[in-house]
């Protein structure tokens, strides 16, 4: 909860890193046919939003227009279905001989991955530029 650009960029680094973790988890489980507790793997998606406490929004009666950075709001299950593959000898095949893989859109995940990496880089740039500005200000009045 800060207006300091360095602190804001830091929240961005944090959120984009976690988004990267979720995408990595989805890609790693692309061929998963069973999870602990039964059923198939459901891909996840990270939701993020401006870092403003809900109580603040309620108190203000409107969305607080303050630069406060970002935060993870939660990890939601992406409601894509399953992709059935007929493979009767697979250990996880059902009676009909079908194995269910998560219907993860590989291209979509890759696009999200690149977008996440770009956002992370952008936050790094903000961070280093904000610090450069501070350092330049330190040169004020010096010969």
């Amino acid at each position: 909860m800060s207006i300091d650009p360095v602190a804001i960029a830091r929240t961005g680094l944090d959120v984009e890193w976690q988004r990267m973790q979720v995408i990595a988890q989805n890609l790693a489980n692309e061929n998963t046919t069973r999870v602990v507790g039964g059923g198939g793997y459901r891909p996840l998606r990270l939701r993020s939003g401006p870092a403003t406490a809900f109580s603040q929004i309620v108190a203000a009666g409107t969305v607080v227009a303050e630069p406060t950075g970002t935060q993870v709001l939660g990890v939601a299950v992406d409601p894509v279905g399953y992709r059935a593959v007929h493979d009767p000898r697979h250990p996880d095949a059902d009676r009909a001989g079908n194995v269910y893989y998560p219907a993860i859109d590989h291209a979509e995940q890759m696009a999200l991955l690149v977008k996440t990496a770009r956002a992370y880089e952008a936050n790094l740039t903000v961070l280093s530029l904000a610090q450069q500005m501070t350092m330049r200000a330190l040169d004020l009045g010096k010969a």
Binding site: R10, W17, G141
Partner: protein, 115 residues
């Protein structure tokens, strides 16, 4: 003779920032340690409270390392965030020491004018 409050506070802030840097280095070195308690230094609050009681209180103020909660499985430590904190701390250190330098330069200029 005691130094003005501003100089004592700035010098003490350098101490605190130095300690925070040590804590961050410790945390970075232990990124792979299981069940590690990351260290923090919250010197600003102590310094602010001491500054209300004058220069002597500021000089006697002691900062300490606070151990955070034990981090279990899944709470991985983030080297990039530690580095972001370290660079912010370094920037503040540079700013405070620059301020201190300027403040002392004023004193020197005044001494030169006398002599």
């Amino acid at each position: 003779m005691s130094e003005p409050l501003a100089i004592v506070v700035a010098a003490k802030a350098l101490d605190g920032l130095q300690m925070r840097m040590a804590a961050l280095a410790h945390n970075a070195a232990n990124v792979g340690t299981p069940r590690f308690q990351p260290l923090q230094v919250d010197f600003e609050g102590t310094l602010r409270a001491a500054a209300r009681h004058g220069a002597i209180a500021v000089r006697d103020a002691a900062f300490e390392f606070i151990a955070g909660p034990v981090q279990g499985l899944g709470d991985e430590r983030r080297l990039d965030l530690i580095l972001a904190d370290a660079s912010a701390t370094a920037a503040r250190y540079a700013a405070v020491s620059d301020m201190l330098g300027r403040r002392l330069a004023i004193g020197r200029a005044a001494l030169g004018a006398q002599g």
